[in-house]
């Protein structure tokens, strides 16, 4: 009986996995020469070019301008009444790491234990996840895929939302280490103190977690020193390799940044202090209370990943628009920031997170930058992507309006110059049931 149940379960699971494998047409691997003519081209880093032509070939943008020459072999798209934007970049997602939230077998987000610097999102990416086409046909062409559990969750990858293998999707990996900074919770809700016993317990657990984190960095620094000493001199005593510490070496050497997730003021301040002590390249993420620490961020030039914006404020007596207004406060203060959906299935709504910031004061063009060029700059890939410029990756989309407006339709998507089929698991279901006899 037990065996039989297990067998049935096995069948159920494999059926689910089947349904969770995308059968959507993938990119065809060709990077043709394409010219979009008569369009409104929005490069993001330069002035809008009206009645413009943009040309790309072999995956790279080759010309933009009202009088740009159209090569003889180009596939010509008439862009009359349409607009061309750089593909949007989501600064924080679980794309490729989850299929059905409630089904553990389809999730590869959180490894066991507190310290997993050697959990690389790039390893577990499912290039055939149905989440990918759903996301990219709304103009999101690249995303940061991040692990999520414990204190040190693992390392993010910057991926393009197209490819036949994980490797084909990778733009940069490792992109950043993720730390969920330990949270000191001495209140049961809002700002209200707990009873003494519970507070003592909270402080103890907080200190233990911080110690674990500090120990990891101390060990990693020692390991990095030993490794570089042995590199220089073979007579230095051999030591056993340690996969966990090895994965930390680029971090402690400042070559890979650390996304520190912290939300409330006290935790953000503690995170900044930690980054100072460890001399790491910090990117602050989540950060509902970011407006309270602006001078500290400014002084250190720490960039911020905001989002999800469509979220409720952390405390009962916060202004109702606390999270909507953070982006403009950072913008005014000259602090670098970008916006994440912090989602997988609905990462397609990234532009509407940015739009909500614009509804509450952020200039519209800046809101667009926060999901295109700004993330590219924060992650150090702005030489390759994030705007429409000659020489950059041909990650772009054609729309019939402002992509931050819900009622705008994305008509066509190119990723690394490849023509992306405008279908998803959902559009296929739509067509199937429209045709129900």
């Amino acid at each position: 009986m037990v065996k039989r149940t297990a067998l049935l379960l096995g069948i159920a699971v494999s059926a689910l996995q089947l349904s969770a494998q995308s059968v959507i047409l993938n990119n065809n691997g060709k990077k043709p020469t394409v010219a979009i003519k008569n369009a409104m081209v929005v490069p993001v880093t330069a002035a809008v070019c009206n009645n413009c032509t943009i040309v790309f070939s072999g995956g790279k943008i080759t010309a933009i301008g009202a009088n740009a020459a159209v090569p003889d072999d180009a596939m010509v798209i008439d862009g009359t009444g349409l607009r061309v934007y750089p593909g949007m970049i989501d600064s924080g997602t679980r794309i490729g790491l989850t299929e059905v939230e409630s089904v553990p077998g389809t999730n590869d987000i959180s490894e066991l234990g507190d310290l997993n610097p050697n959990a690389f999102a790039a390893i577990a990416l499912n290039p055939h996840s149905n989440v990918i086409p759903v996301t990219r046909i709304n103009g999101i062409t690249a995303a940061v895929a991040s692990p999520g559990g414990g204190i040190v969750s693992g390392q993010s990858a910057l991926i393009q939302l197209s490819g036949w293998t994980p490797k084909e999707m990778l733009i940069q990996s490792p992109l950043a280490l993720n730390i969920n900074f330990p949270r000191l919770r001495t209140s049961s809700f809002d700002d209200q103190p707990q009873d003494e016993e519970a507070e003592k317990e909270a402080r103890k657990s907080y200190t233990e977690q911080l110690d674990k984190l500090r120990d990891l960095f101390r060990d990693a620094n020692a390991y990095a020193k030993a490794a570089s000493a042995r590199m220089k001199d073979v007579n230095v005593k051999r030591f056993d390799r340690d996969v966990m510490l090895e994965s930390m070496v680029p971090v402690v050497q400042g070559r890979v940044p650390v996304i520190i997730h912290a939300n409330l003021e006290r935790d953000i301040r503690a995170a900044i202090k930690f980054a100072d002590e460890e001399k790491i390249k910090m990117i602050l993420a989540d950060a509902d209370d970011v407006a309270r620490v602006i001078p500290d961020l400014k002084k250190r030039d720490i960039p911020v990943i905001l989002g999800p914006i469509l979220a409720i404020p952390p405390r009962e007596d916060d202004p109702y628009d606390l999270i909507f207004t953070n982006a403009q406060k950072l913008n005014e203060a000259g602090i670098r920031f970008s916006i994440q959906s912090d989602d997988a299935h609905n990462a397609r709504n990234l532009p509407y997170h940015a739009a909500m910031c614009a509804a509450f004061g952020l200039p519209k063009d800046v809101a667009l930058k926060a999901i295109t060029i700004y993330p590219a700059q924060i992650f150090g890939v702005a030489d390759r992507m994030g705007s429409l410029e000659v020489g950059k990756r041909a990650d772009l989309f054609i729309s019939d309006g402002d992509p931050l407006e819900i009622t705008t339709n994305v008509k066509r998507v190119f990723i690394d110059g490849e023509d992306i089929p405008m279908d998803s698991y959902q559009t296929l279901l739509y067509k199937k049931f429209l045709a129900r006899p």
Partner: protein
């Protein structure tokens, strides 16, 4: 614990004070002039006026056709849009504590209206998103969860004023993964609960109705004997069967959580067989697969526009669902099931234009009049018409633009949210909080000192 509860009440007091500061609660006359009015049922009026008096809309039309009563408060609506208040037919906001009476497959006897609080700040946040009316429901842990409550978000007012006197009674059913406990274990001390399959869910609902029919027969017999002058012993009252019987009598509307094709059809077939009416299928993420069957039963559909993949039964959810149900003749609404989403149902409605191509007019109905219809309150809610409740929202731009914001929200002519006033009161509220916390800290300090003094040497 007591101390925490007191503090909580104080904090809640701040936000309630904020709201009380808004509402005049007098029978003032207010006129919005020169606005774009989206009436929902009678098209768009540019340069239009709405007059509110005694909690009702008393005039609506072009500026030139609507006179401003003397003494009226006049709001300049130039460049602004006015809609009816947003209606959310699936809310758990303001429920004080757990939403699930998890211990029985049918806990239909319990009532959410008994456990509401008027201190949930999420109500205020939703007013700031234009939402004025909600159906507050139990969770979905039971096949039959309990009786729901239709409320207006009159934040700052006593709960008794939140209830709409002529609102129908409603009950929540739930089908699929949740009532069969697929994704959670019962809390410690509570044994695993029947049912564990969709077959069992059907049986729970079927048996409840069959029991109710027997129960009704017993009462009928009792009444008949009494009428004949006999002195019969009354049947034993059963609160669960009372409500099941009232469903069969058409006195309680069924609102059912559901996802998949099979369970949707199961409930519709059961309603045919046993003679009860389903008012709204909630979530109904596969509604598009059986839209014609739902329409043929005259049942409404309330759904998330684009949530999907959060569990196996939500894997085939598509954002085209709303347009496909609406086009098949199902009265369809977008609802929230979320404190967060309930603040921007207008934008979910806008997505039905993007996904499936509804017209702007059709899409506007998804968060207004259609909800009123499914709550059977369309005689007083859901559109801007003379005689209806003055539940109105002033927006900075078209409610379907992601760049628009709510400026002012009225319920029955009173202001429950106003952005200008909200901004103006922030500094004052922050100071009040600081002062109170300081006072409290000072008192605590004094008490501690007192304790340290040696008692009697």
């Amino acid at each position: 614990m007591k101390q925490i509860a007191e503090r909580r009440a104080q904090i809640a007091g701040f936000t309630i004070a904020l709201c009380l500061g808004f509402a005049a609660f007098a029978q003032n006359v207010t006129v919005i002039r020169d606005a774009t009015i989206l009436t929902i049922t009678h098209g768009k009026i540019e340069h239009g006026s709405v007059v509110m008096r005694g909690g009702k809309i008393v005039a609506v039309g072009l500026d030139a056709q609507v006179s401003v009563p003397s003494g009226a408060t006049v709001i300049d609506g130039a460049g602004k849009y006015v809609t009816p208040g947003i209606i959310d037919t699936h809310s758990h906001t303001s429920v004080d504590g757990s939403v699930n009476e998890i211990s029985l497959p049918n806990s239909g006897a319990v009532r959410i209206g008994d456990v509401l609080t008027n201190e949930d700040v999420n109500v205020y946040r939703q007013l700031a998103g234009g939402t004025t009316t909600a159906l507050v429901l139990h969770g979905s842990a039971n096949s039959i969860g309990g009786q729901s409550q239709i409320v207006k978000w009159k934040y700052g007012r006593p709960l008794s004023e939140w209830f709409i006197p002529d609102a129908p009674r409603t009950i929540k059913f739930a089908l699929g993964e949740n009532p069969k406990s697929s994704n959670f274990r019962p809390p410690p001390g509570i044994p695993a609960q029947y049912p564990a399959t969709r077959m069992g869910v059907e049986e729970v609902i079927r048996k409840s109705f069959l029991d109710a029919k027997d129960y009704m027969a017993k009462w009928d017999e009792y009444d008949a004997r009494k009428k004949r002058g006999e002195n019969p012993i009354p049947p034993r009252r059963d609160l669960m069967l009372d409500v099941m019987a009232d469903i069969l009598r058409g006195k309680v509307d069924v609102h059912s959580h559901c996802y998949r094709t099979d369970e949707i059809l199961m409930l519709l077939n059961l309603s045919d067989e046993l003679g009860f009416k389903v008012r709204e299928l909630h979530h109904v993420l596969e509604g598009y697969k059986v839209a014609r069957e739902i329409a043929a039963h005259g049942v409404g559909g309330g759904t998330f526009i684009d949530w999907w993949g959060f569990k196996a039964e939500a894997y085939d959810a598509i954002p085209y669902n709303v347009a496909m149900m609406e086009n098949a003749g199902v009265v369809t609404v977008v609802n929230s099931d979320s404190d967060e989403l309930a603040r921007r149902l207008n934008l979910d409605a806008a997505k039905a234009i993007k996904y499936g191509g509804l017209s702007e007019d059709e899409a506007l109905k998804l968060c207004t009049i259609n909800g009123a219809k499914l709550l059977r309150l369309d005689h007083r809610l859901g559109s801007i018409e003379v005689g209806k409740d003055a539940d109105l929202v002033i927006w900075t731009g078209h409610p379907f633009s992601t760049y628009s914001r709510v400026e002012t929200t009225f319920i029955e002519g009173d202001v429950y949210f106003d952005r200008t006033k909200d901004l103006a009161m922030r500094a004052e509220l922050a100071k009040e909080k600081r002062d109170r916390l300081k006072k409290e800290a000072d008192e605590e300090g004094k008490n501690k000192k007192g304790k340290k003094e040696p008692a009697n040497g």
